[in-house]
């Protein structure tokens, strides 16, 4: 895998719940059906109120986002247990969410699916960074660098190899916990 990603960031505040990440009306899409997976991605973060987030995460007519890194405040991914949420972000092209903290089920779904890296940041980056700032996330040393400033992120620890493997099933196969060949995704 690539060990760094450089991209403009998209900045959101506290309590971005799963309805804002992928509104309930789009949950009719089934993530394991390939074309519906892509479509889910095209709706990522469409539930953010326009007044608070005038710059759209995905431009009208596009199916993916130019922002591969999302910066968030507290409790990112709270609300429902819908796995559609990390999947929509991953399908849209997001590689990592860097937040003050995550809601439990969202964090777990990120790991189980391997769709995005959910990094905790000791510094409240949503107060410091602005949408469009270009950042480099270094997965080897767990840092986010923006305009010469280096922010240390909390290492992902034991869940890291699961996300690296592409989710819990791939990890379980690679480590011999379950038998069999990985299916083609």
């Amino acid at each position: 895998m690539a060990h760094t990603v450089t991209s403009p960031v998209y900045v959101v505040r506290d309590n971005i719940d799963t309805d804002q990440i992928i509104p309930a009306q789009y949950l009719t899409l089934v993530p394991t059906i390939a074309e519906e997976y892509v479509k889910l991605g095209s709706y990522a973060l469409i539930g953010l109120p326009d007044a608070l987030y005038p710059k759209r995460f995905i431009s009208e007519g596009d199916i993916s986002t130019p922002y591969k890194i999302v910066i968030a405040g507290r409790n990112f991914g709270c609300g429902s247990s819908r796995e559609h949420a990390p999947i929509a972000l991953g399908a849209a092209g997001v590689e990592a969410v860097v937040a003050d903290g995550f809601a439990r089920i969202f964090f777990r779904n990120c790991v189980a699916t391997g769709e995005v890296y959910p990094y905790d940041s000791p510094v409240r980056l949503c107060d410091v960074l602005h949408t469009g700032d270009v950042a480099t996330l270094d997965f080897d040393v767990d840092t986010l660098t923006v305009g010469g400033t280096v922010y240390s992120l909390k290492p992902l620890g034991e869940v890291r190899p699961v996300i690296d493997a592409g989710g819990i099933f791939n990890f379980a196969r690679q480590s011999g916990m379950i038998a069999g060949e990985a299916p083609s995704h």
């Binding site: 309805d19 539930g47 953010l48 609300g79 247990s81 559609h84 779904n109």
Partner: protein, 456 residues
């Protein structure tokens, strides 16, 4: 050990567990529904093979309830995906909207939203169905592909929401690796005063600890106040553990629990053996606080999150466009009876919508008579738009033709459990969470109103 630790220790075959331990637990029941079921089935087949069999047919419960009464063809298709999986796997617990096991579901929009459009097996909202149909038992482990699965913690079990991938893993193996959470104790004393309901208890507590105050933790309810609460009350409270970020909510087991569970498992012929977990003398909590129920007042969680707490009486200047009663947490028979107590003989002033959680609630509201009139009629005479089509409905917005959905920016007071932006449909709307009493009183005045105004 705390109640949660005891359930997890037993389910993982260990004498002792402590917070932070990662343990493989054996799953007693896995529940899924029409929104996450098709994806869960997709993961299961992709990972275990097209011809794989579920680990134990008697432990899988499938309840279509989210997007049922909608003309949205993908939603209708998703119910059909559940039906073919049930047929293929020969699953005994499927509460289908139609009676034909090989048929296709199609909602008939020309019949409108209010009139019954389901067969004899359909039940409605999954979390309310599980206890009714005898699938909740003390001491057990329940996972569901829905965040409000934590409602079953009312029955002295470990219950929590998971994603499709974890659910697909359970379908194949019957196991899941989980981290033992720290436990927070909420020790209840006293009894609820006039005009105050279980909903006010949980809204008060979430306001106290914050919207993420229980993240990664178990919320254990104890104390003499707990035993004064009905099972419905306990469900309302356990249901909203997730709204404080909690992993699960859990109650002790008492005679009320045993009576409720024994009656339901006998009625439905489901598994009747279970072993409750008792409260230990030695427990370690990450938080421990006493709450006096008698001091609580009607409480509201204001837009935009369930922790944004105010008292109803402080909000009487807020004008509303709609009142809504329904959902797992607020659409039980007892919730509608409380609502009816307030609106009986009066007329609502704003658009007021009622969606019973289950088909049993619909039946009971029609059977219970007050002064010769059914509660259903009493609610209708007060101007409440009631549907017979029990489901999650507008609690989570859903497809645009969902009954009660907020399709334009409006202010809505609701007996449901979540009020982040866009939750009930339109993302510029504002949702205020409150008890059925407070929702009813507010429906009568068109403003947020302390229900004690109408009670003596």
């Amino acid at each position: 050990m705390t109640l949660t630790e005891k359930v997890l220790a037993r389910a993982s075959g260990k004498a002792h567990v402590q917070p932070g331990d990662n343990v493989w637990v054996n799953v007693d029941v896995l529940m899924t529904h029409d929104v996450c079921g098709p994806g869960t089935i997709g993961v299961f087949k992709r990972e275990f093979g097209q011809h794989a069999k579920v680990w134990d047919q008697s432990k899988v419960v499938i309840i279509p309830d989210h997007y049922i009464f909608t003309a949205d063809s993908m939603s209708n298709r998703n119910v059909d995906i559940l039906r073919s999986f049930v047929h293929e796997q020969k699953l005994p617990y499927f509460y289908d909207v139609i009676d034909d096991p090989t048929g296709e579901w199609k909602f008939d929009a020309s019949k409108g939203q209010l009139e019954r459009q389901y067969g004899s097996n359909y039940t409605g909202v999954c979390h309310t169905t599980l206890p009714w149909k005898g699938h909740t038992r003390p001491g057990e482990i329940l996972f569901g592909t829905d965040s409000h699965t934590c409602m079953a913690g009312a029955f002295n079990q470990f219950a929590t929401g998971i994603g499709n991938t974890d659910a697909g893993f359970i379908l194949g193996t019957g196991k899941l690796l989980i981290k033992v959470p720290e436990t927070m104790r909420f020790f209840l004393e006293g009894a609820l005063p006039l005009g105050v309901m279980a909903k006010d208890v949980i809204l008060h507590v979430i306001g106290e600890i914050g919207f993420d105050g229980a993240t990664y933790r178990a919320m254990q309810w104890e104390g003499p106040g707990v035993y004064s609460l009905s099972m419905d009350d306990r469900m309302t409270i356990a249901n909203m553990a997730i709204e404080a970020g909690g992993k699960n909510g859990i109650f002790p087991c008492d005679q009320k629990t045993l009576d409720y569970v024994n009656e339901r498992v006998a009625e439905n012929g489901t598994k009747s053996e279970f072993e409750p977990v008792e409260i230990d003398a030695a427990q370690v909590f990450s938080y421990d606080k006493v709450f006096d129920l008698s001091k609580l007042e009607p409480t509201v969680a204001c837009h935009p999150d369930p922790g944004n707490r105010k008292l109803a009486k402080e909000l009487e200047h807020i004008h509303l466009d709609r009142a809504y009663i329904g959902s797992c947490t607020g659409g039980k028979t007892s919730d509608f009876l409380a609502f009816a107590e307030v609106v009986r003989g009066k007329t609502v002033k704003i658009d007021t919508v009622g969606v019973p959680a289950t088909t049993k609630v619909v039946r009971e509201l029609k059977e219970i008579l007050w002064g010769g009139q059914s509660v259903w009629q009493i609610l209708q005479s007060a101007g409440v738009q009631l549907t017979e089509n029990a489901s999650c409905a507008a609690c989570l917005g859903g497809p645009v033709d969902t009954f009660g959905r907020l399709n334009k920016p409006m202010k809505c007071i609701s007996a449901t459990n979540r009020n982040f932006p866009g939750r009930m449909g339109n993302k510029e709307s504002e949702v205020f969470l409150a008890s059925p009493y407070t929702v009813a009183a507010s429906a009568l005045t068109g403003r947020i109103t302390d229900p004690r105004t109408f009670m003596s």
